[in-house]
């Protein structure tokens, strides 16, 4: 069976009534090549294909492709930088945000940027909607907080406050590479005091990592105070970063994560 809904309502109804696998780009499912699966194609649902922005929030539809995001004036530079490092142009022409977040990988390049940006995921079903933080939705490898009748419909990003950022991807080559370590950081200061120092790590563990309790140590501090706190701050991260061996060793990942965190702080004077 194949289902090609033309409206969100129709899509949600199909999602509620069937066991179809939702997809839009299919770049990941294509590789898995399951011959028995049946699919719900979301690429023609207009509500999922829009990028809109008001003064507070940028909304990116779940079926918006990475190429479309790169071409949009509304999408913040941090997210564009992360997305520009995904795969290669042909895959970016098809791949979508909804798929990148939902397929269960902890190496998704868009997710680590969205996590640092305090983005949220909008989930809808015929029953209603839920709005979750990225790390509330992406629970662990292969595990997402998504009901069997729910669809990811939108990514919600704050419209401001993402101007000072870092994004880094360490892959095995410059294109078509799965991340071995990814990092995103967002920094804000107001009247000389730090208001945000978000640091998110991807591809290093069974889940995306962000330690808000450690970030809180810098909030409200001046740059000078933060500099003094930095050695203890980095040490605390070193203890928190319990990483996994994979394509590269856990030890290597830890070293790189700390180097990138340090570089991020230094970039903004800390």
């Amino acid at each position: 069976m194949k289902a090609i809904p033309e409206s969100l309502r129709e899509a949600l109804a199909l999602r509620a009534d069937t066991n179809l696998v939702p997809y839009a780009g299919g770049t990941d499912l294509m590789v898995r090549g399951s011959s028995n699966a049946e699919y719900l194609f979301l690429g023609r649902v207009p509500e999922l294909r829009r990028i809109t922005a008001d003064g507070e929030t940028v909304r990116i539809g779940a079926a918006v492709t990475f190429t479309e995001a790169l071409e949009s004036d509304a999408v913040p530079a941090l997210l564009k930088e992360a997305v520009s490092r995904i795969a290669a142009p042909a895959i970016r022409n098809a791949g979508t945000f909804g798929g990148n977040l939902s397929n269960g990988s902890t190496k998704a390049d868009s997710a680590v940027a969205l996590l640092a940006a305090d983005a949220r995921v909008r989930l809808q079903s015929l029953r209603g909607e839920r709005i979750l933080a990225i790390d509330e939705f992406c629970l662990a490898k292969g595990k997402r907080d998504l009901g069997e009748d729910e669809l990811v419909t939108e990514i919600l990003l704050p419209a401001g406050g993402l101007e000072n950022y870092s994004f880094e991807k360490v892959g095995g080559r410059k294109a078509l590479a799965i991340s071995r370590v990814s990092f995103a950081g967002v920094f804000c200061a107001d009247e000389g005091r730090i208001t945000k120092a978000a640091a998110a790590f991807g591809a290093v563990s069974d889940s995306f990592l962000r330690f808000r309790e450690l970030e809180a140590r810098l909030i409200g501090k001046t740059i000078e105070e933060a500099r003094e706190l930095k050695p203890a701050y980095l040490k605390a991260y070193a203890e928190k970063l319990e990483l996994k061996d994979g394509r590269v060793s856990a030890e290597y990942r830890r070293t790189v994560c700390l180097n990138l965190l340090k570089a991020f702080l230094e970039k903004f004077g800390v």
């Binding site: 360490v170 080559r173 294109a175 590479a177 799965i178 070293t255 790189v256 180097n259 990138l260 570089a263």
Partner: protein, 720 residues
């Protein structure tokens, strides 16, 4: 530029671009033809064991299990002179992936199901997995000249280093595949993706225990080879031929990518220990100990070892030399031919040793090299002669002019403390052209030209088009000599039933050796051309008069009639926070003689150079403690993309070879051979101090980080 060098549209360009080419997996049984049965191999899952029994599920009608008991002739695959590799395993299996048997039937999903239900009972035996612990040599060479022992005894100092290189997988676009079809006249028609149709015929004839006239082999359109389709197809073709004989029906086996990555032959991992004696600031002797991991069966390891041994001292001449080389058995997938054929491993060792000797002496790496470069008239490693001019000094100057080598090298030698650090490195390499020793002469390869009454001319030779342009360059030579349009000369994929045996598609020999036979034949045809008649001209190889005949046992004489040469430079930037290395530019100057088609040769140079950079930087494959290769997908075995070396420049220096067509020499392998050493030198310079020794390939991000942190720790820095 010689007019022959002017580029033309390749003869296979249109059908390949349009998707009309028929690869072995594309054949379908048309109309009422017999269906093509699918064969899938039962691969051993342990590295070394006695096979006690194979428990089969009940086989549906039309399905069959084939193994060694079904082999009518020899159960060993003939590869040139070696034949230790079984068609299907004997009593034991010797590596993970070795074929135990094949399930054959009409529906491939059903074949897979049956395969999954087979249970193999093993009695495990202790495998040898570590090259350092391997002792059984499948081939060994020991030779040299002068008195190296005395030189080492009298040396002021000795530099000794160990060099290690890893696997390289060919990663051809089309995986291995072959098909066998019993014909109505009782012959067996075997065809598939391969480089050497006649080698496949040798193997199949021996395995079926039949006459040569009973088997003919066609090379289908082949999606890349790089050496990987030199010997391996003889195995796969033998397996499908046995199955087709048993089933009395066409049988095809095409590897899937996972199978291909894990179980097809690869480049030999190596372990080289090189020693250099220095006296009064000069090199007085070099000692090369070369070990190649042959894998579980010899296959072509003996030949690869010979080329490695004959290339041991790289592009240099030293007063005293000793070479010991061994190909050693381990219980891992057999290693075999791969572009460069033993050259990249020893060039890496020699070039790195030269860099490090220069560093030790406080000398400039390139100036130090220049003192020892071989010249025309010098003896070779095997005490033959370099009969022709060696253009390396001019090529080094060309390289500098193209990339500003000295300026960059001086700039990057200054202390660098930022996150991103740059380096540039150079490597010089040679590749002996044609088959090693007297093989060309002994096997007496030949070609024929057939002129049809309408004036069309056909080339009848056995060399395979594998992307290197043979189907274009062979006709180009003939058309050039005959003075007729290129469209009038054709070269079809070889079928041993109708073409001459012009030898294997290997050793960068096709254009230089076979191309010259075609040129001579075309001249003769021109002289006797008679309009409206069918005419044939045959030409066989004769060894040029200047060659000092090679004695294989003493390993002495001209291993090759001439050499191709390369000088390449790589400029790299290391990210000291992540260990990642970016190649800023790569420039190669290659002497492969006269290009018979400039576009084709530049394509070869760029592709080979990039493949060598992949070998150096990212192509990592290893087996685990049980002997299993785990990274068997293209997400885990990474090869470079166009984005990885955006500034890749190749230049040609032409030193004409009088016995090659229009001065052409071997081209296919040369660009790969020196790339890794240049890359390593660049990364090493970027790391900063003289203490670093990057002597292992590939150079991983983790290797780079370890080197960086080793330095910081020894300097007393905090290592967060």
């Amino acid at each position: 530029m010689n007019t022959i060098s002017r580029s033309v549209v390749k003869k296979d360009h249109e059908p390949k671009i349009r998707g009309e080419s028929v690869f072995v997996n594309d054949y379908t049984a048309a109309g009422d033809a017999r269906p093509i049965l699918t064969g899938k191999l039962l691969h051993a899952s342990v590295a070394r064991a006695k096979v006690l029994s194979v428990e089969l599920p009940e086989l549906p009608e039309g399905y069959c299990y084939v193994d060694a008991r079904d082999v009518p002739g020899s159960n060993h695959v003939l590869m040139i002179t070696w034949n230790d590799l079984p068609v299907f395993c004997d009593e034991t299996v010797e590596y993970i992936g070795e074929a135990i048997g094949m399930v054959v039937g009409p529906d491939d999903q059903e074949v897979s199901r049956i395969l999954g239900e087979i249970k193999v009972n093993y009695e495990p035996l202790d495998p040898v997995l570590d090259l350092r612990e391997a002792t059984e040599a499948v081939r060994e060479r020991d030779f040299g000249y002068g008195d190296p022992e005395k030189a080492f005894a009298e040396a002021d100092s000795v530099i000794e280093e160990e060099f290690e290189t890893g696997y390289q997988e060919h990663a051809y676009l089309e995986p291995q595949g072959f098909m066998a079809e019993p014909e109505e006249d009782g012959k067996m028609f075997v065809h598939g993706s391969c480089q050497c149709a006649y080698s496949v015929q040798d193997a199949v004839v021996s395995v079926l225990g039949c006459k040569y006239r009973d088997v003919h082999v066609l090379q289908d359109v082949t999606g890349g080879g790089f050496g990987g389709k030199e010997a391996f197809p003889s195995l796969l073709a033998s397996q499908v031929a046995v199955a087709a004989q048993k089933m009395k029906a066409p049988v095809r086996c095409v590897y899937d990518r996972k199978e291909d990555l894990a179980y097809s032959f690869k480049r030999h991992p190596s372990l080289c220990r090189y020693k250099m004696a220095l006296k009064d600031g000069k090199v007085t002797a070099v000692d090369c100990d070369i070990r190649l991991n042959a894998g579980a069966y010899c296959t072509l390891s003996g030949l690869v070892l010979d080329r490695a041994a004959a290339t041991a001292a790289g592009v240099y001449s030293f007063p005293n030399l000793h070479v010991h080389a061994a190909a050693l058995k381990t219980n891992t997938v057999p290693n075999d031919a791969y572009r460069g054929f033993g050259g990249p491993q020893v060039i890496f060792a020699m070039e790195r040793l030269m860099d490090h000797a220069a560093k030790t002496l406080g000398a400039d790496e390139v100036a130090f090299r220049r003192q020892y470069l071989v010249k025309q008239g010098d003896r070779t490693v095997t005490e033959g002669r370099h009969h022709f001019p060696v253009p390396l000094p001019e090529m080094i100057d060309m390289l500098d002019a193209a990339c500003g080598y000295w300026e960059k090298h001086a700039a990057y030698a200054k202390p660098q403390n930022g996150r991103f650090r740059r380096g540039i490195g150079m490597a010089l390499a040679r590749h002996g052209d044609g088959l090693t020793g007297t093989t060309e002469r002994d096997l007496g390869f030949s070609i024929r030209l057939r002129k049809h009454p309408d004036g069309r001319v056909e080339v009848l030779a056995a060399n395979a088009e594998i992307g290197q342009g043979t189907r274009t360059t062979f006709p180009k030579i003939v058309a050039h000599e005959l003075g007729i349009p290129l469209e009038k000369v054709s070269y079809q994929h070889p079928d041993t039933g109708r073409v001459e045996n012009s030898g294997p598609t290997s050793a960068s020999r096709s254009l230089m050796i076979v191309g010259e036979l075609l040129r001579r034949a075309a001249i003769r045809l021109r002289e006797q051309w008679a309009d409206g008649e069918e005419q044939e001209v045959r030409e066989s190889y004769t060894e040029p008069d200047f060659v000092i005949s090679f004695d294989l046992d003493k390993f002495r004489g001209d291993a090759f009639p001439t050499d191709s040469w390369s000088a390449c430079a790589v400029e790299a930037e290391v990210d000291s926070f992540t260990g990642n290395t970016e190649i800023l530019s790569a420039v190669g100057v290659f002497d492969v003689g006269t290009p018979v088609d400039e576009n084709i040769v530049i394509g070869q140079m760029e592709g080979g150079f990039l493949q060598g950079l992949g070998y150096a930087s990212m192509e990592q494959m290893a087996y685990d403690g049980t002997g299993r290769i785990r990274n068997n997908s293209f997400s885990d075995y990474l090869i470079p993309t166009a984005a990885d070396v955006p500034k890749l420049k190749t230049l040609l220096h032409v030193e004409e070879y009088p016995d090659g067509p229009y001065g052409a020499k071997g081209a296919g392998e040369m660009p790969l051979v020196g790339a890794a050493a240049a890359y390593a030198a660049a990364v090493e310079q970027a790391l900063g101090t003289d203490k670093h020794r990057l002597n292992r390939l590939p150079i991983t991000v983790e290797d780079v980080m370890k080197e960086l942190y080793r330095e910081e720790e020894s300097d007393g820095h905090d290592s967060i």
